[in-house]
Subunit: 364 residues, 2 copies
Amino acid sequence: VSGAIVGVVGGGQLARMLLEAALALDVGLSFYVRPGEEGISGWSPRVVEGPLELEALRAFARTVDVVTFEHELVHPTVLAALERDGVRLAPPAGAMAVGSDKELQRRLFASLGLAAIPSELVDRGRSERPHISPPYLLKAAHGGYDGRGLVRVDTEKDLPPTGRYLAEPILPIEAEGAVLVARSPSGAIRSWDPIRLVNLEGICVEAAWPSELPEAIERAALRAAIAIAEALDFVGVLAMEFFVVEGGLIVNEIAPRVHNSGHLTIEAAVTSQFENHLRAILDHPLGDTSPLSPAAMVNLLGRIADRTSPSRVRVHRYGKTPRARRKLGHVTALAPTVAEARQHARAAARTLGGELIRELEEVG
Amino acid sequence: VSGAIVGVVGGGQLARMLLEAALALDVGLSFYVRPGEEGISGWSPRVVEGPLELEALRAFARTVDVVTFEHELVHPTVLAALERDGVRLAPPAGAMAVGSDKELQRRLFASLGLAAIPSELVDRGRSERPHISPPYLLKAAHGGYDGRGLVRVDTEKDLPPTGRYLAEPILPIEAEGAVLVARSPSGAIRSWDPIRLVNLEGICVEAAWPSELPEAIERAALRAAIAIAEALDFVGVLAMEFFVVEGGLIVNEIAPRVHNSGHLTIEAAVTSQFENHLRAILDHPLGDTSPLSPAAMVNLLGRIADRTSPSRVRVHRYGKTPRARRKLGHVTALAPTVAEARQHARAAARTLGGELIRELEEVG
């Protein structure tokens, strides 16, 4: 390893896939993980364990050239303090602050004139109630993922006792999707083709491209993601999730990092999200994001058969202890059509024993 | 990492690519490298440095469940002694002995009724001369690779002063190719489609598939590689290189390991040679070897531009110090036709500054 060392805060499956990309790119990575975090531990000679606190992160930052993130768990004030110290954060602290806060995201979307979900901040710690009538959704303003922090409120009894939430109407969602963009410090941007998503119980279960959405939706989604990346002066890969509601685009939320929806880019794009994230934060020329093939990815949730090697797919195992609904791996299939790719990926996920596959097939 | 640990003797680019595959497969690797060997060092928490000698390898073998090889540099008597100790070698010592000795290979090919290059063993230490008249080729009986150990003899003056060689006529080679097979301890075998090779100065410069060779040649090559793997009771991935001479198949040599000709399987096959090598030696079910797309790989020899990201290819950098004709990386392109894939891969290799690209284009 020669040249700049990238510090990655977080050590789960995204860290593992960043390491795979870093090996081919010959970019050195150093990981900062929480005690007991599973994924990267044992796989790199540079794994530091510690709490997500200023002093510890400061010490880690001194050992690397740039710090990036695999999750949004570091407090924004800690990130801002690191940046004031002169630590180069990519994405910058300001972008991370927005990326980890759904309320700030909604404000940004509004300021950019993007259609977003009408929502209302509710502080249950102060016993606030939304003005909207049930049924509606509460989404944790911070830190919700994979269905955690998501509450459906049908009656007052469903209201959680504490926590800050966004209250949202239950929209008639016709389709879900994601757009990934990579942006360099110099402002260079590359986007991948839009990805079609199926989420169940708030968890991403399937991602596929081409999205088969109307071209106007795809164009609007790409424009929105680029506008958001530019407004945040973003550096690295940014994921934007969207809905199609009544034939129009609704921006749902962003993640300030490589993202589950983009795992299929490992096999199905000339340059993967992981490689371009590293290229972006190092200000190297961004790689070609062209698609190589229609593709589908299905997550392996909750359980995963040992050793089994289903045909027609590439299997990625994350080395994590099984737990209900936990992401333990994924499969990606390439095929001449997205319908075939979906079939292959679902069949493989069934063979490997992943949860929610039957439910996925019911969605169609 | 849970489960069996695979010990890999050797730490160059093949070790790196094995590590990439092991990450996705969640198979733990431990590497045994020679002092100063470049490639895997710095990339794994389990890298042991030492000489390729019995006592040191014995100690390494005690820390792993199975030992495999990235090169053929361990002496066959050392391998046989390890096996007598009860160390599980995959491939087994006998297969490694043949794989590292061109003379034994020729005898095996003859015993299997496979057409091979007529050759004669010449011990220059005893001042032996071949009966063949110049011009002819001398190939080191042991350890030659990437053009090293290859001597063209036009006059007696070209004869090396020492060393054991095979003397061979210079054949009118019409095409070169390779077949890769993966074989499990249980005898299960999977082969990838034959690969077309261009070698220059004895170095593999380009690999591509489909081979565009006559079907009869492809079938004969696949049959030959499978017969060899079975005769050797081989475990792991075996590469067989062949020539087409006067329209017929001539088996050239084998390598008892993952091989440069198979790098395109990373992107262009459902399961790569690296993943199936690990699956085979662990006796897991072998992965699907179907091709995903026509593809071409071009080696980056001698020099490689920093940071540059040419379009239409995936770049693999090996992290090695540049030296004339040294393999520093490779690019792989997928495209609707092999001709386009070749164009893209060659254009990228030119952009990245690899050696022998002009010469490659002259070959056509």
